[in-house]
Point group: C2
Chain length 227, copies 2
């Protein structure tokens, strides 16, 4: 058995930052599966595994190739049923899609507003061209204009985390007393923010900060290894 | 076995409208448990069951009394384990708290902005005084000022439903192929909007509208019985 995870990096391969790849790093540790991570710059992704996917994460497990973070999590749950569950049953598996929706439609845009210029600064020249073109079209403004609004974007982030804060009034993880893939979905988003900007920009005492720190401690501090 | 659900109404006891009570109406039907619903005006709630709770839903099950919609759902799952599950396992139970957080912190405020004046119009005079005082403090403006912004509030609702729309790209219910309590949490919110304003104000073709219509059909159309 040999597992390889293709993930995303800028010029420094020791600082992979993709939120979707971090979900799978945590999921593989959760399952107790050793793996080799191969971070790739944006424009090298289409060259990996004979152009298998335009996006990472891509997981190779022996002769299996899977892309898309949620599909990879489902694959791992099916392929390794005797390892710790990522979903805690069918209800948790189904609800994780709503958690993904919350993360991608409400948290990711808030993080993009903060981090987009910082991400650009982490990339090599060819990737910078690709990133600027695609993101400026998506955002409808220049990276420099986004950067000028960074403080306002940081101030707007806590409101997007209200659902998480509500949940933390009752339990330490989205998975309940211990984490599940739903936690890794939102951890991935904030880990992306942390690695690209140096902080998740939440005030001391915010329960979301406490939860994020608990996630950084998981699996022998796997998340904290990348600064 | 005799189940009684205390819920919330205005002057018309045939139009109970509380989002939290609708979660439990659906949960009781889901469990296949017959029950008697006793809708109460706001200011009669503290008189029910010797002042057991300031809020509804309150469920009486024989000599048991439970308040708070999530606690009632947990109670039903424990007390009736051989009836259809409301959570689909421990992962689903835990994730439902995040769904509750999303509903209450992102969807409820959007609905309140649309419906608050309409709710006031459904109430008797004593309840109207209570409602106006508490809500105007909470909202920081008069009910009439909120009513003047109703069209803008309706226009803002679809953005708050993006997580649900994302999920519906993969499956018909938050519970997966069939509904769970997580669906009833968000159904309750939109049913509250429907009963108090006559519509959920979403455009034809919105997948959220399709999901809501599917929920109205559940349990012999229990949700559609109240217009």
């Amino acid at each position: 058995m040999s597992l390889t995870l293709y993930s995303l990096c800028g010029t420094d391969p020791n600082r992979p930052f993709s939120p979707h790849c971090w979900k799978i790093v945590m999921a593989l540790h959760h399952k107790g599966l050793p793996f080799e991570e191969r971070p790739l710059p944006f424009t090298d992704i289409p060259k990996a595994e004979q152009g298998f996917s335009k996006t990472v994460p891509i997981l190779r497990d022996g002769d299996q190739l899977i892309s898309d973070s949620f599909k990879i999590a489902l694959y791992l749950e099916d392929a390794y049923p005797d390892h710790p569950s990522l979903f805690g049953g069918e209800g948790g598996k189904a609800a994780a899609r709503l958690v993904e929706g919350y993360s991608q439609t409400m948290v990711h845009p808030a993080i993009t507003r903060i981090a987009v210029y910082d991400i650009h600064q982490m990339l090599g020249p060819v990737d910078q061209d690709y990133f600027r073109t695609t993101r400026e079209v998506y955002l409808g403004k220049s990276l420099e204009a986004m950067h000028a609004e960074r403080e306002a974007a940081i101030a707007a982030l806590p409101a997007q985390l209200k659902p998480l804060r509500h949940m933390l009034g009752f339990q330490p993880f989205i998975g309940g007393h211990s984490p599940l893939f739903a936690d890794y979905i939102l951890f991935g988003a904030l880990q992306w923010l942390r690695i690209t900007t140096g902080s998740i920009h939440l005030p001391d005492g915010d329960p979301v900060l406490g939860w994020f720190e608990r996630c950084l401690e998981l699996h022998d501090g796997a998340g904290r290894l990348v600064a």
